[in-house]
Subunit: 408 residues, 2 copies
């Protein structure tokens, strides 16, 4: 895409009320726009990142048998009363229509997916299965100082699995942990993300978080030096012994919760009386699990983990473009390169604007595309273009004919 056509621009300053690094950088670099506290627009660059994250998650969840659907945000009050959450959930937005009928504005979808499944699952032969969606959720969030880490409106992947037996649920739950690690690794958070015990005591086996270590984290976790499992301080207080390996040495770190998984058992199937005929022909209660990832939160976490004082450093897997092509008054040659990259299907943001070199470099660093390719009088004299990775100090001259090979 030609940067001269991009309707958004970078900004020198972030809004004064944004204290988080993720929001400051994403706003300054033109990825998101703040509509109000906790509510953001995804701009063209930001939507490209979001779609990359979405596709990584979709591929991995499809590979574990997830069937994608799309459920509504407007949800009947009666369903939420059945589970007791209409009154119990403080951060539930409620909407009234002109006849004073009330609806919930979905922060999660157990109250929709369980009655939905009830219409299709009749026999043990219909189980197990899992269904998921990418959906904009709503949560009446009082604290909203963490940029896109904690939104009032936020994009979620929520997966729900349905099982006849606890063994079967356990198996799927274990598998989901491996898939989640793969997702976080592919999104650029590998090596920094830990499986964390979320609940204390006897319930610990029913729920886990995935926590990514970064100074911006709102949570404190203890990471076992022996087995790398982590414990959330907020939940268990100070720990002496690792519940996984009985190790006694821990690192204390700040971390962001990037995902969570729950064995819900019959918590939501019971209120809706979701049963199937088992092999003996008797009605048996279905049990379920749910598995969430907040996509905006994941995007914000990537920025918290991958940035320096000049801007964002996107991992290639989620970068809005692979190449930032900068023309320093060499538009003819740069146009040629841009066209040939496009012909090869390589995504480039092409800075074809009439700006000073210093400004272009500063903006490229702020936006954080993995490869910067500069076409200048100097580079052409040296025999080609200058290729520099965002996370490296020095670039190198590459002959134009070798450029595509170099970038792959």
């Amino acid at each position: 895409m030609r940067q001269s056509k991009l309707f958004t621009k970078t900004q020198k300053e972030a809004p004064k009320d944004e204290v988080s690094i993720n929001a400051q950088l994403l706003i300054r670099a033109g990825f998101i726009d703040k509509l109000m506290a906790g509510v953001y627009t995804l701009l063209p660059l930001g939507l490209r990142v979001m779609k990359k994250i979405e596709n990584i998650i979709r591929e991995e969840i499809n590979a574990m048998g997830g069937q994608e659907i799309f459920m509504p945000s407007l949800q009947p009050k009666e369903n939420w009363q059945k589970t007791g959450r209409w009154d119990a959930m403080d951060d539930l937005y409620k909407v009234k229509d002109s006849s004073d009928r009330e609806f919930a504005l979905g922060p999660t979808h157990e109250e929709v997916v369980v009655p939905l499944v009830k219409r299709f699952a009749q026999s043990y032969k219909d189980l197990p299965f899992a269904t998921y969606q990418f959906q904009n959720k709503f949560r009446m969030e009082l604290r909203s100082k963490s940029g896109i880490l904690r939104g009032r409106e936020f994009m979620m992947k929520d997966l729900y699995s349905f099982h006849l037996t606890e063994e079967d649920l356990n198996e799927y739950y274990e598998k989901s942990q491996k898939v989640y690690f793969k997702i976080f690794e592919r999104a650029g958070l590998g090596g920094k993300t830990y499986l964390t015990f979320a609940l204390g005591g006897t319930f610990s086996k029913y729920s886990h978080e995935f926590q990514t270590v970064t100074p911006a984290g709102e949570d404190t976790i203890y990471i076992c030096k022996n087995c790398s499992q982590a414990i959330n301080k907020e939940i268990k207080g100070d720990v002496a012994v690792c519940p996984n390996c009985k190790g006694e040495d821990f690192n204390e770190e700040k971390a962001i919760e990037v995902g969570n998984i729950f064995k819900l058992m019959n918590k939501y199937t019971k209120p809706f009386n979701l049963t199937v005929k088992n092999q003996e022909g008797k009605e048996q209660e279905v049990i379920m699990g749910c598995y969430g990832i907040g996509l905006g939160r994941l995007m914000g976490t990537v920025v918290e983990v991958h940035h320096d004082d000049k801007g964002i450093i996107w991992p290639e897997s989620v970068a809005p473009f692979q190449i930032h092509l900068l023309s320093l008054k060499q538009d003819e040659k740069a146009n040629e390169i841009y066209e040939s990259l496009a012909a090869k299907g390589i995504e480039a943001l092409y800075d074809d604007r009439d700006q000073a070199a210093g400004e272009k470099f500063a903006e490229a660093d702020l936006i954080g595309i993995p490869y910067r390719v500069v076409v200048s009088e100097k580079s052409l004299k040296a025999g080609g273009v200058e290729v520099k990775k965002r996370n490296e100090e020095k670039g190198e001259i590459v002959e134009i004919k070798d450029l595509i090979g170099k970038l792959k």
Copy 2:
């Protein structure tokens, strides 16, 4: 996808309160599920259709320079007060948070996109441009008897264009008409969709609808026999003369509004004081157009236009799968074919269930995938598989080695 794994099922009967053909067929065939009046879940088959429609629209809108973004549903009351629509819009859902602050639940996004653009557009050099989104919208709809044609929650493509001069807006507006016709043609509504004057008198040049002829239509249109432009009866009453070509012969038809385009001029830019510096260095008001397509409504219209008494007949471009492969107790051979189709990247729904042939045929007709491929003892004896198009009466035997060539 193996049909035995699909968690949804077809149904013999539609819900009694659904009177529209689109909702009856889509529910019975397992494309959508009704949560409440005007609010539906997209099931796996339905989401596949929706994504195909979305991609057709995205390709065409990108080709006309649209830059994709994603704006929030929760919108500040102040913005809606500025345009006067907080009080004027009857079907606006309003949400309160715990501190009694009110928000609009977006039925459209002028109140978000104009302030957004104001933060980036400063000079005439920044114009023209256009930005769009696919977004779930909300509208407090009292009538909701038309299935997915008229939802309380519905997926929209909304495009907004920004211009310095009326000439420039006019040019983009003309271009949008051609693009819209291309979209509707690609989605299977070609030859049945008409450009329609939406507003009477001197305003007629500021707004047009696209209407698709079908008996299920809520609107009545007069189509000029000479130039094929149409006039909406509701807006102008009975017409004597075509405002386009002065022709005097019309066909009266029922039709569904599948898209609409508006020259908004300064209606929304004025309240937000959206101006840019013009070539003389003076502040000049920006004018805008907006261009909508309801995706669920489009999907419903395709069903209204393309069905028979057995079920849906999907156009290939938006079909959930290209092939419905039916095994009639010939699983070994059918498995082989399924694997080889998958290896070639051809999308097939594979009915590998242990069902009677008659049931499988009836379900295939109901679901409406363009090509039905039957593997039976009879077909194998005749030398291959039976290939039948959904919209044709008779099938033909095709040798398995020729199958892929035949389907392309």
